[in-house]
Structures are given as structure tokens and as C-alpha cells.
């Protein structure tokens, strides 16, 4: 192989690797390490643009339901703060989905961060059970304005 051929092959390899990385960023989930150690679940949102005041359906995966023995709370977590927005019972979790609403009065404090995640936390020891993908917070919707 000539020097220019080697350079071309290396460049193509680098580009392919970068493309692979970018796809992995879009798809997500590649951090999950091994079969036994998954202790943090995933909350899956129906839409990753959240309107304050409007209910959002959340499904989940990978949560160890056996470990949950009392009510859990859903928090919105941003780079600067975590705000509790609702409580979820074990029965609600057992159904596979639950509904949360970002309250209108929380909009002000969440607004400055624009993006956040839902985090499901166990009441008893503050253990994190699951987190969602990142979502964008939209300006307050009609549910907040005409209430």
C-alpha cells in the first residue's frame, strides 16, 4: 500500500468512526454496561417537548419493581435544581405507564434552564430508580393561561 492509500484508508476510518459516534449520540442507551448491574431504569416520554400544564404519558423499562415498596416521586432535574412535581404509587408503576404534569407554577423556576429530565426517585431512601431522556420545556400552554 502506498502512503496516500494508507492516508485515505485512515481518513475514511476516522470519518466512519465519527459517524458511528454521532449515530450513537442520537440513539442513546449505549452506556448500559452488562446484564447484571442495570440498577437505573429508563423513562420513555411520548414527546420530548414538554408543555407546562399538559399531561405527559411516561412509560418505563428496566425498573426493578420488586425493590419498590412505597410511593415514589417524580422530579424534574435541571443543571441547577431538582423539583418534585408528582408522586407515583407502586400500583401506578405496575401498570407500565403513568402520567405526570409539569405544574404551571413551576414554569418560572424551570424556564431559565429550558431543558431537563424526569427522574423517578424512591421516597424512602432517595434512591434513583429511573431517568428519562432529555426534554425541552416549551412556554406555558393554554392549560396554564386559561385556568
Amino acid at each position: 500500500m502506498t502512503r496516500s492509500q494508507i492516508t485515505a484508508v485512515v481518513l475514511v476510518g476516522v470519518v466512519l468512526l465519527l459517524v458511528l459516534g454521532l449515530i450513537a449520540v442520537q440513539v442513546g442507551g449505549s452506556f448500559i454496561r452488562t446484564s447484571g448491574e442495570v440498577r437505573i431504569g429508563q423513562l420513555i416520554l411520548s414527546n420530548n417537548k414538554i408543555l407546562p400544564g399538559a399531561p405527559v404519558t411516561v412509560t418505563y423499562s428496566l425498573i426493578e419493581l420488586g425493590a419498590i415498596d412505597d410511593a415514589s416521586m417524580v422530579m424534574v432535574r435541571t443543571p441547577t435544581e431538582s423539583t418534585v412535581i408528582s408522586e407515583v404509587t407502586k400500583e401506578e408503576l405496575g401498570s407500565g405507564t403513568f402520567i405526570v404534569t409539569v405544574p404551571c407554577d413551576k414554569y418560572e423556576e424551570l424556564e431559565k434552564n429550558k431543558a431537563g429530565r424526569f427522574v423517578l426517585v424512591l421516597n424512602s431512601d432517595q434512591r434513583v430508580l429511573a431517568q428519562s431522556e432529555s426534554f425541552t420545556l416549551l412556554p406555558a400552554g393554554p392549560e396554564c393561561i386559561y385556568r
Partner: protein, 313 residues
């Protein structure tokens, strides 16, 4: 009429998962080893290294499982940090605790086991007599580990019924984790081979330390970046490692025969290539008294003899 042999679904899926996991391993073994005409180590050695790499997954997973359970017993509220951070990051412990999981547990267990296995093997083996052999054997061990890890990951996703994410995540993870294990194991293989073949104690010690420290820190950082959802940086981090490995494929000093009959040689010399032999012959002739006093003959020799010799080579 012959009856169709049917396997239990679990076994069939495990076989499919293993065969799929072999795909990237096959590709990289071909790239680094099979396509070479002058294979530096016997096929048997590469196959054994691959198999041992696969076997290392079992103790690694066991140790990581125990570490995870221990963490959970000590501090259930922070146990989730073992698999990654809760995002977005808010306080320093959001980075430090996942770093503890990746550096102190995952990287230490996986790289530590690989290090122990390779140290014992490199010191005893008679087949490994060049630094380049260390690279090939290290990469084969890394590929074996990645193959088994990917198989178990696939089975886990399948058992959970996560079919929606199965294909994309699976194939992405296939490539990325395989490349990561190649990088860490390849670097470790080369550094360990240099340690084993070093003559001076100080050099030996330095290479032994580097052989553990470099892959350990890279592995820890790579896992931490994935845990912090900074996948693109994790992939970018692999680039210099892979480029280094590629540049080492043709590094001449790595082909020097460093050990014979189990003894490390003091004078380690690379085997001569055909073009080198021709050039040596040329310089010997060119510097002869006849050519020094008749330079026009040197020109003729270059044109008519050397080029022909090189072409033959």
C-alpha cells in the same frame, strides 16, 4: 423423512447472539492478522488468546456484580451511580461517584484480569518473541472479551423484551465496545511485550506500570464518558488509541526478534527485508574503491542493476 432438529428458544437465541457478536471480531482479526502474508504468531496462539479473552468475561462480571451489590448494601441511595450519572449534572458528586464506579470497579476488574492473564502468558510463551506478537495477542484477547460481553448484552436485552431498541443499540454497541476493547488490549499487549523483552530493570518496571496504567485510565475515562451521556467524546477518545495501533502495524522495531528459546536477547534485531538486503549490497558496491574513483559507473549500476534487484525483491 428426516425430522428437523429444533433447539430450545434460549439456546437458539444464544447461538444467534454469539454468531452476530463474532462478526466485528472476525472483521478486526482479519484486519490485524489474517490478511497478513507473514503472520507473526501461529494461528493457535491467536485462537487461544481469543478464547481466554472470552473466558475472562465470567470472573469480570462476577466481580463487578459483587462490587455493585456491595455498593448497594453500603449506600443504596447512590447505587445507581454504578451504571452512570443522573443527568444533567448538578454537583461534583454526580461526576465523582460514577468515576468511582468506572475507574475503581469496571476498569480495575476488566483491565486487571486481562493484565494478569497477559503477564503470565507473555513471560512463559515461546511463540511470543516480538513486540508485534504482543500487539496481536492483546488484540485477540480484547476481541474475545468484547465478543462474549456483546453476546451477554444481546441476551439480556432479548430477555427484557426490549425489541424496539435491540437492533440499533446492539449494533452500535457492537462496534463501539469492540473498538474500545481492541484499543485498550492492543496498547496493553504492546507495552507488556516491551516490559517482558526489556533488558534493564528500570525500563522493565516502567513498561509494566505503563501497561496497566494506560489502558486502565483510558478504560475508566471511556466508561465514565459513556455514563455521563457524552458518547461522542468517548468515541473521539478512541481515535488516538486506534491511530496509534494502526501506526504500530508497520513499526520496524516491533518486529525485532527479542527472545530465543525462552531467553530474552541482548542484541535484538529486526529480520532483514529483501529490499534492505539489496540496498546493503548496493552500498557495499558503491563504496568500493573502484566506484569511488569512477563515479560514472555508480550511476550506471544504479540504473541497470539496483533497480532490477529491487524489482525482483
Amino acid at each position: 423423512m428426516n425430522e428437523i432438529v429444533s433447539l430450545p428458544p434460549g439456546v437458539a437465541i444464544a447461538i444467534i447472539a454469539f454468531l452476530l457478536s463474532l462478526l466485528p471480531a472476525g472483521l478486526f482479526i482479519w484486519l490485524w492478522y489474517l490478511r497478513r502474508v507473514d503472520r507473526p504468531v501461529p494461528n493457535r496462539t491467536v485462537a487461544i488468546s481469543f478464547a481466554i479473552g472470552m473466558l475472562l468475561v465470567w470472573p469480570a462480571f462476577k466481580l463487578e456484580g459483587w462490587a455493585s451489590e456491595f455498593w448497594y448494601d453500603v449506600s443504596p441511595a447512590t447505587a445507581h451511580y454504578f451504571v452512570g450519572a443522573v443527568l444533567p449534572l448538578q454537583v461534583m458528586s454526580d461526576v465523582l461517584l460514577p468515576a468511582l464506579g468506572t475507574f475503581a470497579v469496571v476498569a480495575t476488574v476488566e483491565e486487571g484480569l486481562r493484565y494478569l492473564m497477559l503477564v503470565i502468558w507473555y513471560r512463559k510463551s515461546r511463540d511470543i518473541d516480538q513486540v508485534f506478537d504482543g500487539l496481536v495477542v492483546g488484540i485477540a484477547a480484547g476481541l474475545g472479551f468484547a465478543t462474549m460481553e456483546n453476546t451477554m448484552y444481546f441476551l439480556n436485552l432479548f430477555a427484557q423484551g426490549s425489541f424496539d431498541t435491540l437492533v440499533l443499540v446492539f449494533f452500535l454497541r457492537f462496534m463501539i465496545s469492540t473498538l474500545a476493547h481492541i484499543s485498550f488490549a492492543g496498547l496493553m499487549g504492546v507495552m507488556l511485550a516491551r516490559a517482558v523483552f526489556a533488558i534493564y530493570k528500570v525500563q522493565k518496571r516502567q513498561w509494566y506500570i505503563m501497561a496497566l496504567l494506560v489502558p486502565w485510565s483510558l478504560h475508566g475515562l471511556y466508561d465514565l464518558l459513556l455514563g455521563l451521556d457524552l458518547t461522542i467524546y468517548a468515541v473521539l477518545m478512541l481515535l488516538p488509541c486506534l491511530l496509534t495501533l494502526i501506526s504500530w502495524i508497520n513499526r520496524r522495531e516491533f518486529f525485532a526478534i527479542a527472545r530465543e528459546n525462552g531467553q530474552v536477547l541482548v542484541n535484538q534485531q529486526a529480520p532483514q527485508t529483501k529490499s534492505m538486503v539489496v540496498m546493503k549490497k548496493y552500498f557495499k558496491q558503491a563504496e568500493s574503491p573502484w566506484n569511488i574513483h569512477a563515479p560514472w559507473l555508480r550511476e550506471r549500476r544504479l540504473r541497470y542493476t539496483i533497480l532490477k534487484d529491487l524489482e525482483k525483491g
